[in-house]
């Protein structure tokens, strides 16, 4: 096993690591991909890691995270307990489940599944060997690393992750659940790379979970590229339930072709430092993208959602709806950026960010930002931050509902606007339960995390007993 032990994260460390392992990293690269990698490492050498002097990072400092020190692996650990990865299965949800452990695809004997309908699903490392042209066509074309050190670093080091290919005119019959588990006995730094291609007229539902199974510190730099072809439909769910020592830099790049449609849901339930870079590019007219976010943070948790929507073509519609509840010393940052380019006429873009602060030590920074170079647009944004509505509190309490319960009910209700948007009923039910548990302070990452307590073998009822709340 090759590892770099518990070193703090620096630019030099990774430049050095790249130099020493260039042969290993580029082993299965086509000439084009090798070129992409070289370009990326050069970009990273120029940019390094972001710091708070950058406007998009000025409220999120990584210093403490970096200084914890992490192991970094260039090869997967041999022994993988496949069961572990699947503990997080959503009961009764009929999904195709694929898993990653510490950033490496968990093979379950078959590293790459090729389904009868033409869908390919499995390890990116394997796909690079088997479908070099397909990978070459998409890899690195959706993610734009020009101004982003983390993405550049990920591209330079990209080894494994998940690859999903849904060919033209194929509608994936069930949702795909992609589980990304971090489980390690030492602090670990990991980078995985996912590539999802939804063809023209194709459809895919993807449930993407980030989970940790213990309290060990981790630092993840995960890049996901998602291409949605003409008239393609992508339903994307991102569930984040990591421990309080984890740092997650998650960058998801969406590229939407003509008339493509995207729904993306970010549900952040737990995590030490969560940074979501969500970038949507309309690459042709008539696209539609709705991005929803819900974050429920407490203790010293930090969540930073950066949404960038690039209206590069006419007639596209986008919305961002982010809601958060912050307790104790938690901090939330919302940075929404809508860019409407010169020719993107008939753009309709909406941004909304709403926050509830439960304590005087919780903090919110909200920046819904519009940059518009065209007059034929309809754009709006709104942001509100405050406490739970006092009128509603009075109404509930007047009906005999105790203050705590009333507050809880109103918080569920607040979160509900996002939760009800979840299209898969079992998943919605599940998230509703998790949100309730989270708000009641019962959702914990314990030794045996509540998530995998709920396998079909060991079902746990999350039913809320209304008489008890």
């Amino acid at each position: 096993m090759q590892s770099e032990h518990k070193e703090i994260i620096t630019k030099e460390r990774f430049l050095d690591l790249f130099e020493k392992n260039r042969a290993l990293l580029t082993k299965n690269d086509t000439a084009l991909l090798a070129g992409t990698r070289e370009k990326a490492i050069a970009t990273f050498a120029r940019l390094g890691f972001p710091d708070t002097s950058l406007e998009t990072w000025n409220l999120t400092s990584l210093e403490e995270s970096f200084n914890r020190g992490y192991d970094y692996y260039l090869r997967p650990s041999e022994e993988v307990d496949v069961q572990k990865v699947f503990r997080c299965n959503i009961p009764h949800l009929d999904t195709a489940v694929i898993g990653q452990l510490n950033g490496w695809y968990v093979s379950k004997d078959v590293p790459l599944m090729e389904l009868g309908n033409g869908i390919i699903m499995g390890s990116l490392a394997e796909a690079r060997k088997k479908y070099p042209q397909l990978i070459e066509k998409y890899f690195g074309t959706v993610a734009d690393d020009a101004g982003d050190g983390f993405t550049a670093l990920n591209t330079a080091f990209a080894q494994d992750g998940v690859f999903i290919y849904v060919p033209d005119n194929v509608k994936s019959p069930k949702p795909v659940q992609l589980i990304n588990v971090i489980h390690h006995d030492e602090n670990i730094f990991l980078q995985s790379r996912n590539l999802i291609v939804v063809g023209a007229n194709a459809k895919l539902s993807l449930v993407h979970c980030d989970d940790s199974y213990n309290h060990q510190a981790s630092f993840s730099n995960i890049v996901t590229e998602i291409h949605v072809g003409e008239h393609g439909v992508m339903d994307h769910y991102k569930l984040q339930n990591l421990n309080n020592n984890s740092t997650l830099i998650s960058s998801v790049f969406f590229r939407l072709e003509d008339s493509a449609s995207l729904e993306s849901h970010y549900i952040s339930l737990n995590g030490g430092l969560l940074r979501n870079n969500i970038r949507v590019r309309f690459n042709a007219p008539h696209g539609r993208a709705n991005i929803y976010g819900l974050y429920l943070m407490d203790r010293k948790q930090h969540v930073d959602n950066q949404v960038f929507i690039d209206h590069a073509y006419p007639d596209c519609t986008s919305s961002e709806t982010f809601k958060g509840i912050l307790d104790e010393n938690a901090r939330a940052i919302f940075n929404g950026h809508v860019l409407v380019r010169r020719d993107a006429v008939k753009t309709d873009a909406r941004q909304s960010n709403k926050n509830i602060l439960l304590t005087d030590t919780a903090r919110v920074n909200s920046k819904p930002f519009l940059e518009i170079y065209n007059d034929d647009v309809k754009c709006s944004h709104g942001s509100t931050t405050g406490q739970i509505d006092q009128e509603s509190m009075f109404y509930l309490r007047q009906r005999g509902i105790g203050e705590e319960t009333a507050r809880m009910l109103l918080m569920f209700a607040f979160a509900d606007e996002i939760v009800t948007r979840i299209d898969i009923p079992q998943l919605r039910q599940r998230i509703e339960d998790m949100v309730k548990k989270r708000l009641q302070g019962e959702l914990q990452i314990c030794e045996q995390c509540v998530l995998h307590c709920s396998t079909p073998e060991h079902p746990v009822e999350f039913q809320i007993d209304l008489s008890k709340i």
């Binding site: 509505d389 006092q390 009128e391 509603s392 009075f394 109404y395 509930l396 309490r397 007047q398 009906r399 005999g400 509902i401 105790g402 203050e403 319960t405 009333a406 009910l409 109103l410 569920f412 209700a413 607040f414 979160a415 509900d416 606007e417 209304l466 008489s467 709340i469």
Partner: protein, 250 residues
């Protein structure tokens, strides 16, 4: 005596609204409170219910012999005080069913009763819906969200029926109701009348009092009850307006 208010002074942000209200309500009675706009009727109702934005600066409120000011909003409600809001708030995301079930069970818990089993609760909902002739499937919707003015008022009476209060204060529950709805609401109230409970109805119109016949009518003016009488007083007000009362005050 169910409710006894003595020399009640209350206000908001240093502005005095109630300037010495005296009122006594016994079990089995219906009281009507009338008065020009902005004289403090809703404020009085809110203060009885314990709304925290208002400061009580002087006076006392006793309910079933207890000093109400020592009780929280929810404990007052659990003791049987119900306020039908003049402007019921919309609470998106909270379904009426969930809301009522939580309320009913919290009140039961307070009384030392077990929570109602789901089946029984749903039956109760159906029964009370019929009482106020709610036919549509309002109950799956969020509390008051997108309700018409009349639907909101009906929903208040429905909740009152669910909670079976001892003292119900209905703040302009008649406004915004069509003629049929007015009759339905009034009938609902009449069906709930018992010797051991009481109603205080705040209204501007005789119309409602044709259906819910009050034992007493009070006129609240500039934060004080300036005139009290029997049901004839309401008729007199309907006919003459408030000018003569204003003059009497000068």
């Amino acid at each position: 005596m169910l409710l006894q208010i003595k020399n009640l002074h209350a206000g908001i942000n240093g502005k005095e609204i109630l300037r010495g209200v005296d009122l006594e309500v016994n079990a089995g009675e219906v009281h009507a409170i009338m008065g020009p706009n902005g004289t403090g009727k809703s404020t009085l109702a809110s203060v009885i219910a314990g709304r925290e934005v208002f400061d009580v600066t002087a006076g006392e409120i006793f309910y079933k012999g207890k000093d109400l000011q020592k009780l929280s909003i929810e404990d007052r409600a659990r003791e049987g005080i119900f306020l039908g809001f003049q402007y019921p708030v919309e609470i998106p995301g909270v379904s009426i069913t969930n809301f009522m079930r939580t309320a009913v069970n919290e009140v039961r818990k307070f009384k030392g009763l077990d929570p109602l089993p789901a089946g029984e609760f749903l039956r109760l909902m159906e029964e009370k819906k019929q009482l106020v002739e709610i036919t549509s499937n309002l109950t799956n919707r969020s509390v008051n969200e997108g309700f018409s003015g009349g639907e909101k008022k009906k929903n208040e009476i429905f909740q009152m029926a669910m909670l079976e209060p001892t003292l119900a204060i209905l703040d302009e529950t008649d406004s915004g109701l069509d003629i049929d709805a007015l009759r339905i609401v009034a009938n609902g109230v009449n069906k709930l009348r018992r010797p051991d409970n009481a109603f205080v109805v705040i209204t501007h119109y005789q119309r409602l009092l044709d259906y819910i016949v009050p034992d007493f009518v009070h006129v609240l003016f500039e934060g004080k009850i300036v005139k009290s009488g029997g049901k004839e007083l309401a008729l007199e007000l309907e006919e003459k307006g408030y000018d003569w009362i204003k003059k009497e005050q000068e």
